[in-house]
Symmetry: C2
Subunit: 459 residues, 2 copies
């Protein structure tokens, strides 16, 4: 029988070794990991994280081999450490994004891989290899499910559960049959609705934390001989068939995404760092606006109106938080975000605060921004996240800029020193003033492939 | 603002007291609970349960206040005890069914309620009240999502997560706002694909165990101030909108199911006990076949062919396991099940075995059975699970029987002594020969409302 695409993917995952990895893949994986550590540090004070930590203390073991990045929380078993870290790293909207899959892979792959690597005593090389596998599965699953799935589901949660499972299964050295079971059990748990955006509730962190927990559940139970469906992606009642409704005009699934060019292209190299602290859908417009105001030295008060030309999926997500009643929603409101950018010529994590919500200038600017669907931009999405902004000034002039490559994208990636600067900002946001331990850990990650273990990521 | 239906449901859940419960509701809840205990005992030796137990030992605490029904496994925290018990009680296909919602409520509501009641030291009355609440939420959610949802999702898993959350939240005495959060966080985790039926893998037990775990997660995190979306049922991006694709001709959601006649009708009174050990979709046909062969004293060898007239959802599910390659699949194969019924004039748990899979008489009978869609029967489903069977004998005679009420249905419910007999069969299946402790527990459940705690359900 011809193997299914899912089998091809599983076989590649189990066969991959560290020595197969091209040098840029190794380097980028370490950069993405360091970026993730910063995000996990920054998210520690959110009420959703406090609730999830409380659950872990109530239901999990008192301590364990696995570190919660927030040192104050202590340690736990792999599933609970990953639950907390996965939730915490998705709080501040600074974690990475894989464009074509519309998945934030870091926040689901690294927590699962780190916890299981700590539980099993894995080396730096084994950890890096498992993360590459996790990225590949999360991103390819997201690409396969596509735009229509993303309209209905938070793809980071659904595809992320499979990515977390694959990374964990790789660290457990599961064979191809058990890797398939892990993917199957992950797939049948895949969930995550956008409903939380409508009332600014906390599901976003639940989704990423639970993707980690559920992925680890899938991998460990597969190791213990629990059978998962063997083709949870393309099967007749699998994710593609059930979680991608075939409404008229809807984008179809992309089966080739599952197994095309395995080992020839790597999802870690296609993932973007987030430079701005707002929803990634606002970034092309932020960059375009910044180009305009910097080039023509336009002040916030000079601006009459802004038109942001966009792809539909961005409009869909951002329309749910237009009013920006909470800090989190304010990062998902195009008007608010462009107000911040026009005022400060940046959109950094420390610009989205309770005070900013009461900033009259930004609030007055907010309704001057309008999002408009652009068919050309929409046709390129999600392979390319582009944008175009037109600013009309009060003196009657009009300026337009396209943005093809956003800062942090693979075409304009962050340098190690930019990552250091981002890390410092995130640590500062978390109230950490002594940066020495963070700098030491960054140095250690730079040589992670030589480390005999991956312990020591608590701050 | 007019409260949403979800708010009405949540408010009713938080307000309900034991004293509000009509006597038949209390009695039926105890009967359903005792029936569930038997199912949890019978499922203990399944490989899926062994794997889930291993996961609980690897990731959970070494012991806790909550009992796993299999005494050999010991105790754990509420989430893990419920995970294992929820999985175990859905192994042998003997747990109850709420017809109009197509949900098996016992296997998701009782494990969650029992574990949280043990954790909190709740009384028998508090436990019973929480179970009534859990049934109401699971069944009303299933009814709301309806037939089209069931085509795509294992409703026991999806609606069950909300039922488990509601029962747990009730035992935690959450107020209406937090009850809504618990339902919201449960809903955004709701998952469960039918893909496992196609290759006889183990997701069915994963679904029920994880529904319990995830429901408890939702309730405890809500208690700790994690906000869940407030209208996860009818919200624009909620369960009804996303998990019920509006394909042409598809059955719509049934919004009134969420909050109509709360406190006037009770889902526990509408739930059916399973008398036969096969998939519930086979039961109308089994009863009809038994009527025919008993009335006319027809032997298996006399039968030329059987036509089972059915509703579409039953054909959909049973078509996935027609070949009956495993014991579990054999309970989902109409040909196999009717073969067992024709041979033994029953379809008991001890009739579905590895030996039965190799039984030439049953295997030869299997292809003589044909399922046929009947529009009239389909139109009544899922409010009524009816069937009609025609047996044609080798001597050319033909006999037809309709079945309107299946044995175990609310209209023909099981007596306490029938429940005792079923319990004995289930215990025997699990290899338990000393029935004294089981009889003692049944006696205790009979007076559960007088008990100061709900400990002592280990065998």
């Amino acid at each position: 029988m011809t193997p299914t695409r899912t089998e091809n993917l599983a076989r590649w995952c189990t066969a991959l070794t560290y020595d197969d990895l091209p040098e840029p893949v190794i380097q980028r994986t370490k950069s993405l990991f360091v970026d993730w550590v910063g995000c996990a540090i920054a998210g520690r004070h959110h009420p959703a994280i406090a609730a999830i930590v409380a659950f872990s203390k109530q239901m999990g073991p008192a301590s364990g081999k696995c570190e919660v990045v927030d040192a104050g929380v202590g340690t736990s078993s792999a599933a609970f450490a990953a639950l907390v870290n996965g939730a915490a790293s998705h709080v501040v909207e600074q974690d990475d994004l894989h464009n074509s899959s519309i998945v934030h892979p870091a926040t689901v792959v690294f927590p699962a891989a780190l916890a299981v690597a700590q539980e099993k005593g894995a080396t730096g090389k084994e950890f890096i290899t498992a993360c590459v596998v996790g990225y590949e599965v999360a991103c390819r699953t997201g690409e396969y499910l596509g735009k229509t799935h993303y309209q209905n589901f938070h793809s980071t949660a659904t595809a992320g559960t499979l990515g977390a499972a694959a990374a964990a299964a790789k660290l457990l050295n599961l064979d191809t049959d058990k890797m398939l079971s892990a993917l199957g059990t992950a797939g049948t748990q895949a969930a995550g609705l956008w409903q939380f955006l409508l009332d600014a509730t906390h599901s976003k962190q639940v989704h990423t934390g639970k993707a980690c927990f559920d992925g680890i559940f899938a991998a460990y139970t597969a190791q213990s001989n629990l059978l998962g469906p063997r083709d949870v992606l393309e099967g007749k009642r699998g994710l593609g068939a059930v979680l991608v409704p075939s409404a008229p005009g809807a984008a179809p699934t992309i089966p080739t995404a599952i197994d095309a060019r395995l080992g020839q292209k790597y999802s870690v190299l296609e993932s973007s760092f987030k430079w701005h602290a707002s929803c990634r859908h606002t970034h092309p417009s932020v960059d375009a606006l910044l180009k305009i105001v910097e080039k023509h030295d336009i002040q916030m008060a000079d601006i009459e109106s802004v038109v942001a030309r966009m792809y539909q999926a961005g409009i869909d997500v951002l329309s749910m938080s237009e009013q920006a009643e909470t800090v989190h929603q304010s990062k998902f409101s195009m008007g608010f975000v462009l107000g911040v950018a026009a005022k400060y010529r940046r959109a950094s994590i420390n610009d989205f605060t309770e005070e900013a919500l009461r900033d009259g200038e930004i609030r007055e600017f907010q309704p001057r921004v309008r999002m408009v669907l652009d068919e050309r931009i929409d046709g390129r999405f999600p392979e390319e996240w582009t944008g175009c902004v037109t600013v009309t000034t009060k003196d009657g002039n009009s300026y337009t800029e396209d943005v093809e490559v956003v800062k942090g994208d693979p075409g304009d990636t962050l340098s190690w020193s930019e990552l250091e600067s981002k890390m410092a900002t995130l640590a500062h946001y978390a109230g950490i003033t002594d940066l020495a331990p963070i700098k030491a850990v960054m140095k250690r990650v730079a040589g992670l492939e030589s480390e005999s273990n991956v312990l020591g990521f608590q701050f």
